[in-house]
Symmetry: C2
Subunit: 130 residues, 2 copies
């Protein structure tokens, strides 16, 4: 989709432009359902479609399918279809997907440690404004 940047031989990574890998990563894990799916699979191991749907609770079939497809495409998880009478599909993190749990954990830790401050700052800001 991104044809904006010509086609340089990926000279450096520190670009602030859209071609930066970090930006693309944020598009993935910054996505509401994608991060939840990754964390869910990371905590519980392989899961079926309906398990994930129940676990995340709030996601629609469409969004879940779309999200999982994207993650599969990115090589973060595998999709295994067992053609039994009721079809069974299992999703499992690849090593690559598992490795992504680490930075996500750091994010989570920061959130748990500091979101209280953010809430306070927000309340104060809103209060002062009003």
């Amino acid at each position: 989709m991104d044809v904006t940047t010509a086609d340089g031989p990926a000279p450096r990574f520190n670009a602030f432009a859209a071609s930066c890998p970090s930006r693309r990563l944020l598009d993935t894990i910054g996505n509401k359902w994608a991060s939840l799916a990754i964390v869910a699979l990371g905590l519980k191991g392989p899961m079926r479609f309906s398990e994930l749907a129940a676990r995340i609770e709030g996601v629609s079939q469409k969004m879940l399918t779309q999200t999982l497809r994207g993650l599969e495409r990115d090589g973060l998880l595998t999709r295994t279809v067992t053609p039994s009478v009721p079809v069974r599909v299992d999703y499992e993190l690849t090593p690559l997907g598992l490795s992504l749990l680490e930075p996500i954990r750091h994010l989570k830790e920061w959130a748990e440690a500091h979101m209280g401050e953010v809430d306070r700052a927000r309340a104060e800001y809103d209060g002062a404004g009003a």
Copy 2:
């Protein structure tokens, strides 16, 4: 949207629901321009509005203003207005904002290390599909 989690004593953080702090954090740093602004300020120290606009390059005034306001509201940066003849406004990360650079750095490192694999997986997936 049930209000069951109205004001509990923050029992656990592992919720997959929207009330989880991690989710809210993702809303912030998952935002295209917010992360770039934070990283820019982290690398270069205090910056003026126009500096940021030039640095990020691609952001509109509206989006930049909106983003910076949001980050200010969250206590991640400070906004200092110097009422000179042409108004001068400086933005600077707070300690809280600086601390956020750490998990972001982890993300960046993962991206630089693994986005190549993601690209390959994506190419293979697309190729096999077609």
